[in-house]
Symmetry: C2
Subunit: 533 residues, 2 copies
């Protein structure tokens, strides 16, 4: 490891950070850190330099860890009594405090917990998975899709996921086979393609020899196979109009959203295990209960004033640089000497809404052979998400709501008790009689959570176009990518995936690399020997 890290890295030199930076510039990506190989940062790079990092969510923890690896002295300030930010695992006895609401206290049995923020990690989020591996955080599979879950229509009728997926596939294959056989697609398909496509379509839909769809065992048994001559039979095929009548039918495609594809992970015991392990790996772990009240950038340093929430004492940190990961609506209320343009930009970032409602319950869903996965129910609560943790144990956490956007903005206006009651009602609609099994409901409305004030920004709020092809590229977004003087901003909010922890890691690494480039450039102008004198 040391040999790799000892590579002398300078701007303009071949290999290492310089070469990476050069490549980024060539691609027009300067400052965005497309390639984020942190291992080329030499461990002496930051010697004698102090960085204060604000916020110990994933972006702050990443910044602090990578800066420490690069030899910086780091002070990490966190307003809450815990690290992790939105990666918040609520356990028995934990309090949910929200602006304008009475405090809720979690009551959970042993082993039951609630990831109020992020709750799953895709295979390709190698930054976060890499930290989990580096810090020996045990992972387990997050079952994001179960064929036994349901899509529920507005009228309360429900179809098992296996039936919705495979009967619809059968109907689609049947129609396409008919069109091909009729010759309707002869201009689109070569004779060779047709010849190869037809048998595939037959397999695709599990069609009969005549190309018709008469039901498939993929959708479940009509009767199950057993001992002796207890034969299996396929389930009866659902008519096309009945399938299409279910408004949630498109949610059968959810599992093929790239961010939702198997294999997905969760840390054993709660999402915040990763953040706790990262904090634990810091030479100087986060100072908790440190509520920042004032930021003053000066010509040669940055001064941060914070209040220790436990004692009320007011403390000051002076550092060479600052990386701020504080959510913008929170930062907007802090006394700073940022430029007016920057202040205005920060104040105008609008945050989205997101809600979760969780219950503890005996695992009645496992008696319906649902082990993990998600049922889609529509309406204000959107889904019912079954736990992947503790499969086969007695009790578990059932998520009765996860929504965001305008739906969530409306729902969070309801009193907490009503949010919980509504969610219970929907669960009871899908799983009749089991609303009564649910105990100790909790509602989290992220827009009301202190130190967060929302789950992520809605960068295109108010724009006539809305989001264009999922790209985030507003003037405000671009402005906040660059430092103002000695102050850098890092956050999932400043990535293309504000709703994913990986975005926070990417943003933090980009800012650390930007700071490293600056420090490297300064060292070239002012050799370390002269600086120390």
């Amino acid at each position: 490891m040391v040999t790799r890290r000892m590579i002398l890295t300078r701007l303009g030199m071949a290999g290492g950070l310089g070469a990476t930076f050069g490549a980024m510039q060539a691609l027009g990506l300067a400052g965005t850190a497309q390639a984020q190989d942190m291992s080329d940062l030499v461990p002496t790079l930051g010697r004698g330099r102090h960085v204060v990092v604000l916020g110990a969510g994933i972006a702050g923890l990443t910044s602090a860890y990578e800066l420490e690896q690069a030899g910086f002295l780091v002070t990490l300030l966190e307003a809450r009594k815990r690290v992790g930010g939105r990666a918040w695992t609520v356990r028995d006895g934990d309090k949910i405090e929200m602006n304008g609401e009475e405090t809720q206290t979690a009551k959970f049995s042993d082993g039951v917990y609630f990831n109020a923020g992020p709750a799953r990690i895709p295979s390709f989020h190698q930054g976060l998975l890499g930290y989990a591996k580096k810090f020996d955080v045990p992972l387990e599979v997050e079952v994001n899709s179960s064929r036994s879950a349901y899509v529920m229509a507005d009228d309360g009728s429900k179809i098992r996921m296996r039936t919705a997926i495979n009967d619809m596939r059968g109907r689609i294959a049947e129609l396409l086979a008919k069109a091909i056989r009729k010759g309707s697609l002869d201009t689109e398909l070569t004779a060779v393609d047709r010849e190869k496509l037809l048998p595939f379509i037959k397999a695709y839909g599990d069609l009969g020899e005549d190309g018709s769809f008469a039901g498939t065992e993929r959708s479940g048994f009509g009767s199950a196979p057993g001992a002796g001559v207890t034969f299996a039979s396929p389930s009866t095929a659902m008519p096309l109009d009945q399938l299409l009548a279910n408004q949630r039918l498109p949610m059968t495609l959810f599992e093929d959203n790239l961010y939702m594809q198997a294999t997905m992970f969760e840390p054993v015991g709660g999402m915040d295990r990763i953040h706790a392990a990262m904090d634990n790996a810091l030479r100087r772990p986060a100072l908790r209960g440190a509520e920042v009240t004032r930021i003053r950038q000066r010509s040669g340093d940055v001064e941060v004033v914070y209040r220790d929430t436990a004692s009320g004492a007011v403390e000051t940190v002076v550092a060479d640089y600052l990386i701020c990961t504080i959510p913008f609506p929170v930062l907007a209320k802090i006394d700073t000497n940022f430029s007016t343009k920057l202040k205005t930009t920060i104040a105008n970032v609008q945050y989205d809404y997101s809600n979760k409602v969780a219950f503890e319950s005996p695992r009645f869903w496992e008696r319906e052979q649902i082990y993990g996965g998600i049922s889609f129910v529509g309406g204000p609560t959107t889904l019912i998400w079954y736990p992947s943790a503790g499969l086969h144990s007695e009790r578990g956490m059932l998520l009765g709501c996860y929504s965001s956007g305008p739906t969530a903005a409306e729902f969070q206006k309801r009193p907490i008790a009503e949010q919980i009651a509504f969610s219970r009602g929907v669960i009871d609609k899908l799983h009749p009689g089991h609303g009564a099994d649910l105990v100790n409901g909790l509602a989290v409305n992220w827009h009301k959570i202190p130190y967060s004030l929302g789950p992520w920004p809605d960068w295109n709020a108010g724009s006539a176009n809305g989001r264009q092809e999922g790209h985030i590229d507003t003037a405000a977004f671009r402005l906040l990518q660059a430092p103002e003087g000695r102050v850098y901003f890092a956050s999932a909010a400043l990535s293309q995936t504000p709703g994913w922890q990986e975005g926070g890691i990417q943003s933090a690494r980009a800012q650390v690399l930007a700071l490293a480039r600056r420090v490297t450039a300064e060292a070239l102008v002012t050799p370390a020997g002269r600086r120390a004198a």
Copy 2:
């Protein structure tokens, strides 16, 4: 528990076993135990009766456990030094002995093991899952499908599962949308269906506004999203002919085989954990190393002679009834006084072939973001199955072959070293350079495994029709469902799913219920008080 079990159960009485049996008769299922509620067997039912059970695979363990619960005295004989039968977990130091082959010895690092037989449990196999739960066997998710795995064509070209699935879905949707828009399916679809179907098809294939397919992010990123203005772009769409050219394309449907659908399980630490726990729960655990040499049925009892393989001592057990779970090719060689018809039937049951090849390796596949799941490679080795156990650890077991049928019959003719080398070669073809990572290869050819002599019967071997719609219904199969005198046969081989442990449980329960009915009937004729006199 006691109250429930104390229900007095008699033939002809309402409730309990009698009612179940009645219902079965009405459905024409008598003797096949469609409904297998064992909890109605009264715990005094078998009092004073002794049953010898031969073979401690899942069928034997189920028989022994359920008979003990119903008050029988049970002697369970197992020829091997372990229980589990085909549910065989090979761990470091274990020996693989096969007829006509040199003994292989497993060399595995800590935590690495190889399920040489069954390795996954579907959600609907509630018999086996129920025993796992009852005996507190920890389960973990078996990742049977990963979007990061591959389908490999005969020419070695490969497509990620996510691309094969979603690009093909895109192409299918595109073609169907065109046919519908042309009016080619106007006779098949009502105007209402058409109006609802088109938007669904667009979502189904992730089509553009014009109904064309130009690639989808579901198939992977062209470029991945990052910090700042590092935008995501979808991957390029694969042409239809290129998709169809991959002979493994139909394997994208494997995950929707009902037996293969999420959520699937595996016991933590190896499949045999369930069997070890069941054996441990018996009042009289299996006698191991008890090789049955002779079975004599007499008018009032059954005598079983066995050789203790450790000492060579010959022992005799006399019991009232016998449940035999010994595979038929093995049973055919045992000295019995079965009727000639039964002997001939047993001797003529042909068993299938099945092979597995396993390696230990550093987890190079996880660096390709493959966490569990299966790549399909065709040819003699069929697949590459990545481990779901120990995700994110350093080393793991990679399965390089799992095949059965004629393919397996041919492959097992090769020398063991060649089987291992061939499998290594295929892995190297899919994962270039990584054939060299594979160490300590092991090959298991079930047809050569003593006390098994095959994985399951091929009931329709030699039949002109082959298997009809997956139903097993031959004269031999029917004959073996019924007892001959005091001898009952139980095995997955006697269920509709000979390749699944659940079939063994169903068959065993059916035979236990049949025996319970017989004992109940006898008790009505000969009250217990008189019998004891």
